[in-house]
Symmetry: C2
Subunit: 248 residues, 2 copies
DNA sequence: GGGCGAGGTAAACGCCGTTAACTCAAGGTT
DNA sequence: AACCTTGAGTTAACGGCGTTTACCTCGCCC
């Protein structure tokens, strides 16, 4: 109704506002409650106005998930500082990830359990520069894990046990080794060449698989019987993973 | 428009029909495409008619997820027969679970990654008899896992390694031990008392956590870099899990 | 033959995403 | 000063959605 008042608060201020409101809806009521009309309503605006900022609801959700990743990255980066040794840092990041996921289940579901539909990805992700072979979505977050994994790998190379790595897997992991090397390079993290062995990549994958798996299990409440000990189970998994990795 | 033709095909035939159509929509286009109006349209019926069968869309989705679990259970039960040794059976079930999940990602997402909302659970799950402390949703599926885990636990008890089980976890797992014992009893599976040690429960939880985790990771495409070796990684995880469990 | 219940209908309400045509003030150009 | 462009917003509308309400209409049973 009032063009003037809105005018001075131009794109630079209303766009973050949209995101903020959308985020609130996501947190409080879940993904499907993030509605163009609901956002507009909260802002005292009509829904079609939002199309000045996003080409569709889907794109808004995608941007939102990017925001979520940025926040999560910041949080994890912060927790990373908590550790003294490199292993402590890794633990801190893992715990931070779990805590965040449990505190933000809807955001977790949006980012980590939305079946990134085959065709859906193309039109919704106009990231400025998308180098192929990299984590397409949310590389911000990928960097955090690189920053914590890198030093660990560099350090762990000395005493890393051979780890039972099936031969056929070693072969197949070559591509991943290259990808990972590029990612580290792009991030300015220097890793000795030997540290990027197939074993190391395999180890990294296991860490991520178990971390993600256990957290998803917990967030989605898929424990077989009620497990009040989820926290301790998580801790136990961490030390297990560390000892399996030949760390400490 | 024609009440007569529909009449003779009464509840007993149209209800499965509804489920069938709904299932097709779920498989082909995902959860959010399972729409009362779409189902009705396909059946040559109007949407409100469906309220004679389900009190809401949400309940239909819940029933649907039950159906999915029944089918999955049947498939896993079938794959269970593939193994000679007990361990082989477990492997077969795990592989079956993974294969099924990859072939039915939408169903997997519905059943295993729908954030069973705190309040949502109450009204949508009027299961006939819901013993507390049991897997509230989809116990059919739980039984399959019991049937495959039971013998393994009974057999594994002899040489099971102590497994590094933190003391505080042992205490906390007592409830789970009781739950599990009841479940086995209810299922008519006899397990020697010593086989249900805290270590065994812990082992069981680890199996499920890693199985679920790795499968979810794969289904949701959350591998850090593209992993063409997912299948081999899975196999590797299985043998790792088995050796950690002191099996074979 | 009259009630009745099960399974269906049409109409409506209020949401939703999205499009199209519009207003209207700000700012720059001539 | 007059003019045009542009960007942020509007209103109106379309079709789809879940859901409720009132109604109909068979087949069945007493």
């Amino acid at each position: 109704m009032d063009g003037v008042a809105r005018r001075e608060s131009s794109r630079s201020t209303t766009e973050p506002d949209i995101r903020r409101r959308a985020r609130n809806l996501l947190v409080r009521e879940g993904q499907e409650a993030v509605t163009l009309r609901a956002i507009a309503r909260e802002m005292g605006i009509t829904a079609p106005a939002l199309y000045r900022y996003y080409s569709s609801r889907e794109e808004l959700l995608f941007r939102l998930s990017e925001d979520v990743c940025v926040d999560l990255s910041a949080e994890l980066t912060a927790s990373m500082r908590d550790g003294a040794t490199q292993l402590d840092k890794v633990f801190a990041v893992c715990r931070g990830f779990r805590r965040w996921a449990l505190e933000h289940p809807r955001e977790f579901a949006l980012v980590f359990a939305t079946p990134t539909g085959a065709k859906a990805g193309e039109k919704t992700a106009p990231t400025e520069r998308d180098a192929p072979g990299r984590p397409e979505r949310h590389d911000e977050l990928g960097r955090v894990f690189l920053r914590v994994a890198g030093p660990l790998m560099a350090e762990g190379v000395a005493e890393s046990p051979p780890a039972s790595l099936p031969d056929e897997l070693r072969v197949g992991l070559a591509d991943s080794q290259r990808d990972l090397a590029e990612s580290f390079a792009a991030e300015g993290i220097e890793i000795p060449r030997e540290a990027l062995s197939a074993e190391a990549v395999y180890l990294l994958l296991r860490w991520w698989a178990r971390l993600y798996g256990q957290v998803a299990l917990e967030v989605f409440g898929q424990f077989p019987f009620d497990v009040s000990e989820a926290g301790r189970l998580f801790e136990s998994m961490l030390v297990e993973l560390a000892t399996e990795s030949g760390l400490r």
